[in-house]
């Protein structure tokens, strides 16, 4: 495969340049310090990784000089004299085009995969390298960032926001309950204050009466006034009796209203319940248990066959791996002795050419790769079948609940009929009482009107017959008390509104009375608890799965690299995915900071390649910036050979930079 990287105005270089790379080999970009090697790798990485959504990965990309920092004016890859830079990367059938603008915006025609930054960039300040250099063993971030655990965690945050909302509603309900009690207490007190004021006014009017009698005045007017007052008294007595009856009638209607509302709520609740049960019934009736059983049996049989196929594959893979190791051993021997031929004891002591061994090795690898892929495919198939079986078993369990649901449907229907009958009686009675209320209202209004007319007439007469300072004082006091009465009546009216407001609350855009709201909030609380439990389980499962895959790949790489000092390197799932390093001859894990400088580079590189093989294998690129600078000669050779092998085995592009005294040049090694 060939990759063509076209760059325009990238880094210090103005104008266009084109680089071509071959897959299956390691390509080095060599040159002096500051000759522009790294910007080629960074451009390649940017094209393969953006858009970068994760804040953590973005910070890493900024530290690598790929992404623009928030306080920077423009991208670190854009030439400082130009308005726009372009990166084009073509390989296989992929054609990526990235446009970097001076205003900080970036455009890309095909989205990349942000995991590339963590997994496929071997650089000195990579996050893995930084952790190793600082002796930090907590690598749980690898499995979280790279697996679906991150998604589950984010959903957990969303659930958390709903939990907060429900908690706030709980507090609001409590406040409303407290306020309701408080307002009802105040209401009672104000009612008593009002009764006191009314009594005061009555007494003041009696005083006026007495004072009037003392005043010498026109007898005719006085007689007329007395006549009016007597009539007023009679009429007020009548109206008080009528109002008493009216209030009693109103109370009956309010009680009936409450009963009807209560029944309506019950009917509404029961109707919703019945709808749900009907839906559940329909859903469960559609489930065909016999068909499910057949499908489950078929899936079990398929899995048995898959396991058999895997068993058959294992010896073939083992034979091919042994052959591969044997040929690699002979080639290493030839590298050491610098000979072109070797005596092969396996072939009866014949001399064999180096070319023949290389051809045999290639042919073995070509056979091994499809076998390994087939083995892995069978694994995936088995896992998928198991999930299908689980789903079908769940459906079967639902079908078993059908008789119970049918029974519930019948009960719910009967309950609804009974509730509707009860309510129709209440509604009929209420309608009758409503008619009486209307009749009473008209009578009371008409009588009040007559009383007011009499009062006006009395006041008119009193104006003519009274002229006394004490009388005026009493009148002023009556006026003050009337104002006071009006203020208290206003307060009572406001308290009634406040009490009404405390009777209900809005949840999820619907209004509920406090009692029902309390029930709903409690139910949602329980549901969120259960969802959180469910999410925690999935997060754990995803992390463990990601860690297992990662560990399998590290083990494979250690085996292939044949590192002499290390027995095992792995993420300890039982210990929060901490990195554990076991040296040969010592079963206890070693502290990370006990590694030498060279070992740190090799361990972090192999962790990074494992991350690449585990989490980012679909992008056929590995880029490395000056990674061998800290490695000693032996390790450098082992590591280079390993990179050559994975480039060849996977048909990947492996592109590295190296500081030399040459002008900028590309060399395949």
């Amino acid at each position: 495969m060939k990759a063509v990287l076209k760059l325009v105005n990238i880094g210090q270089r103005e104008g266009e340049e084109t680089w071509e790379f071959n897959s299956g080999v390691v390509t080095e970009i060599r040159g002096r310090t500051a000759s522009g090697k790294s910007r080629i790798l960074k451009s390649c990485a940017l094209a393969l990784s953006i858009p970068i959504i994760s804040e953590e990965i973005r910070n890493t990309a900024i530290s690598f000089g790929i992404a623009k920092a928030d306080n920077a004016k423009f991208s670190p890859l854009l030439n400082s004299n130009k308005e726009k830079a372009i990166i084009e990367l073509h390989y296989d059938e992929v054609k990526k085009l990235v446009e970097i603008n001076r205003d900080g915006s970036e455009k890309i025609n095909i989205p990349g995969n942000q995991k590339f930054i963590y997994c496929s960039m071997l650089v000195e300040n990579s996050k893995i390298q930084n952790y190793i250099d600082h002796g930090l063993s907590d690598f749980s971030w690898i499995v979280t960032e790279m697996s679906l655990a991150k998604d589950y965690e984010s959903i957990k945050d969303i659930v958390g926001s709903y939990t907060d909302l429900i908690t706030a509603k709980k507090e609001e309900i409590q406040i409303k309950e407290n306020n309701k009690k408080k307002f009802e207490g105040e209401f009672k007190k104000k009612k008593s204050d009002l009764a006191e004021v009314i009594e005061k006014i009555r007494l003041l009017e009696v005083n006026i009466e007495q004072e009037l009698e003392k005043i010498e005045s026109n007898t005719e007017l006085k007689n007329e006034r007395k006549k009016i007052i007597d009539e007023l008294k009679d009429r007020q007595k009548i109206i008080m009796d009528t109002e008493k009856k009216f209030l009693s009638l109103k109370k009956t209607v309010t009680d009936l209203d409450n009963k009807i509302n209560e029944k309506n709520t019950q009917i509404e609740d029961e109707t919703e319940n019945l709808d749900k049960l009907e839906q559940k019934k329909k859903k469960y009736m559609k489930i065909d248990v016999r068909k499910l059983n057949n499908e489950i049996n078929q899936l079990h049989e398929e899995n048995t066959m898959n396991l058999e196929k895997q068993k058959l594959l294992l010896p073939e893979i083992s034979i091919l791996e042994n052959s591969k190791k044997k040929y690699e051993g002979i080639l290493r021997e030839l590298d050491k002795t610098k000979e072109k031929k070797v005596l092969c004891w396996v072939c009866g002591g014949k001399e064999i050419e180096r070319n023949d061994i290389e051809n045999d090795l290639k042919s073995t690898r070509d056979k091994l790769t499809p076998k390994r892929e087939k083995y892995r495919d069978l694994d995936s198939q088995i896992e998928e079948n198991k999930n299908n079986i689980d789903d079908k078993q769940k459906d079967k369990a639902k079908n078993a609940k059908l008789p119970d649901v049918k029974k519930k449907v019948a009960l719910s229907r009967n309950k609804l009929i009974k509730l509707a009958e009860e309510n129709s009686i209440n509604v009929e009675q209420k309608n009758k009482e409503d008619m009486d209320i209307k009749r009473f209202t008209t009578i009371i209004e008409s009588r009040k009107k007559t009383i007011n007319q009499l009062i006006e007439k009395r006041n008119e007469i009193e104006k003519q017959i009274i002229d006394d300072s004490q009388m005026n004082k009493t009148r002023e006091e009556t006026k003050t008390q009337n104002t006071n009465k009006g203020a208290i009546e206003n307060q009572i009216s406001n308290l009634e509104l406040a009490i009404d407001d405390c009777k209900s609350i809005e949840i999820f855009k619907k209004e509920f009375d406090l009692l029902k709201a309390k029930k709903i909030v409690q139910e949602f609380d329980d549901i969120f608890d259960n969802i959180n439990f469910h999410l925690e389980l999935n997060i754990k499962k995803q992390r463990e799965g990601a860690a297992h895959k990662f560990n399998e790949n590290i083990e494979k790489i250690i085996e292939e690299l044949k590192l002499p000092k290390f027995e095992k390197i792995y993420l300890d799932i039982e210990d929060n995915n901490k990195l554990k390093i076991i040296r040969k001859g010592n079963p206890d894990p070693q502290a990370i900071n006990s590694l030498s400088g060279g070992e740190r580079v090799i361990v972090s590189s192999l962790l990074q390649i494992s991350a690449k093989e585990t989490y980012n294998p679909e992008i056929p690129f590995i880029v490395g910036d000056d990674i061998i600078i800290k490695m000693d000669e032996d390790r450098r050779e082992i590591f280079y050979n390993y990179l050559k092998n994975i480039a060849k085995d996977n048909d990947w592009f492996v592109i590295l930079t190296r500081v030399t005294d040459e002008d900028l040049v590309k060399v395949e090694i």
Binding site: D151, S154, I155, E272, F508, K509, E523, I531, N538
Partner: protein, 44 residues
């Protein structure tokens, strides 16, 4: 995206099966699904 879709289905199915009789959940479920889908589509 198919994996993420599966996560959404799992969670929403779980809530629906957890809702007990008499509780009006429609608006909540819709909001919840929209919020998760929006987050995951932005992440892609």
């Amino acid at each position: 995206m198919s994996q993420n879709k599966k996560i959404i289905e799992e969670i929403v199915d779980y809530i629906e099966s957890s809702i007990r009789d008499g509780l009006d959940e429609a608006i909540f479920i819709k909001e919840f699904r929209n919020k998760i889908e929006k987050y995951l589509s932005e992440k892609q």
